[in-house]
């Protein structure tokens, strides 16, 4: 069989073009390998765990036990039979339950966050969507957007563990580890004692001066 000159030219052309394409592909590959981070290393990152908030199950009554601690009662035991009063916005009128509740959180009322249909033990977003206690951070984020953004970027809230997740895990605080949702202002602290060094004259032991 004879191959015409035209066909011959076509095949040669094809070979040259595919060679060039292969070359280009290889060089792109090469560049990718140089600029991209070592994927294998990053694919085995350790997890970042967020503390789970304690589930809300009980509330203090006005009764005290022998040691003077408030007797607790499960939310459900009252709220399954006693329908809530959505008009009530503070702890003041609640004379026999919720005795330890000191409520100072903007203009919010109980049902701003608590879902009365879930006996108040689960939560409700402004949209009406009810959410699980573990995801309560979404609830806080509805109003505290900047704090949530900072939290997501690792610059709000305490943590322990590893800065380098290739080496080990990290454990992060949840909003309610530091902020009481009913009274979210950070409490006053008594500071740890300062140094007794020679820069603080009234505290020196007088051994060096």
């Amino acid at each position: 069989m004879k191959i015409s000159a035209g066909k011959m030219l076509f095949f040669v052309g094809l070979i040259i073009i595919s060679a060039i394409a292969a070359q280009m592909y290889a060089s792109v590959k090469q560049r990718e390998r140089i600029v991209s981070p070592p994927q294998a290393e990053y694919s085995t990152l350790f997890p970042v765990k967020i503390n789970a908030p304690k589930p809300l199950a009980e509330i203090a009554t006005d009764q005290k036990d022998a040691k003077g601690n408030a007797i607790l009662v499960s939310c459900q035991s009252c709220h399954s039979v006693r329908s809530p009063n959505p008009q009530n916005g503070s702890a003041g009128p609640l004379i026999s339950f919720h005795q330890d509740l000191d409520f100072v959180h903007g203009k919010l009322v109980c049902i701003s966050c608590h879902n009365p249909e879930g006996y108040y033990a689960d939560f409700r977003l402004a949209s009406g969507e009810s959410i699980n206690p573990e995801n309560v951070m979404t609830l806080c984020a509805q109003c505290h957007g900047p704090q949530f953004r900072d939290y997501q970027n690792g610059s709000h809230g305490g943590m322990t563990g590893h800065w380098d997740l290739r080496k080990g895990p990290r454990q992060r605080n949840h909003c309610v580890d530091c902020h009481d949702p009913h009274k979210p202002a950070f409490p006053l602290f008594r500071p740890v004692a300062g140094p007794n060094d020679r820069f603080t004259p009234h505290q020196t032991k007088g051994t060096h001066e």
Binding site: S155, K167, P191, V192, F199, K205
Partner: protein, 312 residues
């Protein structure tokens, strides 16, 4: 690094340092004669131990020599403090440059960070020392003259904010230039370290540091055996000898293994952010790129790797 800083009273005599002195002395006198000449010095006190005196600069030690030195230090810790410690020397990590940021809007001045540093880094118990000094500052300005580091009342106090200051791990570290014998230097990951066995205690670095970040061991640190942190490293938290300088090392024995610094873990407000400045996805980079950060005494050109910011 060996240039002396013109503004400091350093005797500019680069030809003689301790190591070279020892070498030339050995060469001219012959080893036996030299040993005899040194004898009175070595007999002086049991604390001046011959091995220690003859030890080379950390950066000139081979891995084998390091092992010997670390073993000796572990034995000394056992003899003096009655604890079994391990001394390691984790090297700087590849492609890592450490940075630290502190949110002044949330710091409440509780000194938990200083307490954690005190424990982690085996500081002398009596002085209650640490590498962090927390200043209580007047709102509305950054005036250290009006700052108070000895407050002792519930915090945060009205009208005040709190500014913890520790080593800023400067890119242009004045302390490093000031040291006449290269006992302190900057490592590849940006951490300024001290070879406590090379330091002669002249305290030039302390005078050179604009942040008062360096501390001097006036006395031999006293720490009860059960309180000693046994997880130690040569360049960071091993118990320092008397008469040498010490400083914050960003907890390199922790951070070079990927862990967070002790002060960050202890902070109850999350005011502290730590990480790798070379990693564009790190938390520290996010802070620098998204918050209005500033450094202390920028006009000095020290280029700190410690950043402060306020939430807007």
């Amino acid at each position: 690094m060996s240039d002396s800083n013109a503004s400091l009273p350093i005797i500019d005599n680069p030809g003689v340092n301790r190591r070279r002195f020892l070498k030339t002395a050995g060469a001219t006198l012959g080893l036996a004669a030299w040993a005899a000449a040194m004898k009175p010095l070595l007999d002086l006190t049991p604390e001046v131990n011959a091995d220690e005196f003859l030890q080379k600069h950390y950066r000139e030690l081979t891995p084998e020599q390091k092992a010997v030195v670390f073993k000796r230090l572990e034995e000394e810790a056992k003899a003096e403090y009655d604890v079994d410690v391990t001394i390691s020397d984790p090297p700087p990590m590849e492609n890592v440059l450490f940075g630290y940021a502190l949110n002044l809007s949330v710091c409440i001045g509780c000194r938990k960070c200083a307490e954690a540093c005190h424990i982690e880094n085996n500081h002398d118990r009596a002085s209650n020392n640490s590498y962090i000094c927390v200043f209580e500052m007047e709102k509305g300005g950054i005036d250290f003259e009006k700052g108070n580091a000895t407050y002792d009342h519930p915090v945060p106090a009205p009208g005040k904010y709190y500014m913890p200051v520790q080593c800023q791990q400067c890119e242009n570290a004045p302390c490093v230039t000031a040291c006449p014998i290269e006992a302190t230097w900057k490592e590849k990951d940006g951490i300024v370290v001290v070879d406590y066995n090379w330091c002669i205690g002249c305290r030039y670095c302390e005078a050179a540091c604009p942040y008062h970040a360096r501390r001097f061991n006036w006395e031999k640190p006293e720490i009860p055996a059960e309180e000693v942190n046994p997880d130690q490293s040569y360049l960071s938290n091993r118990i320092r000898p008397q008469g040498v300088m010490e400083k914050c090392t960003f907890c390199l024995h922790r951070t070079r293994e990927g862990r967070l610094p002790a002060c960050l873990e202890a902070c109850p407000t999350g005011a502290r952010v730590f990480g790798n400045l070379l990693d564009p996805d790190s938390e520290i980079r996010w802070v620098i790129e998204n918050k209005r950060t500033f450094v202390l005494k920028e006009e000095l050109g020290t280029k700190p790797r410690f950043f402060y910011y306020f939430d807007e």
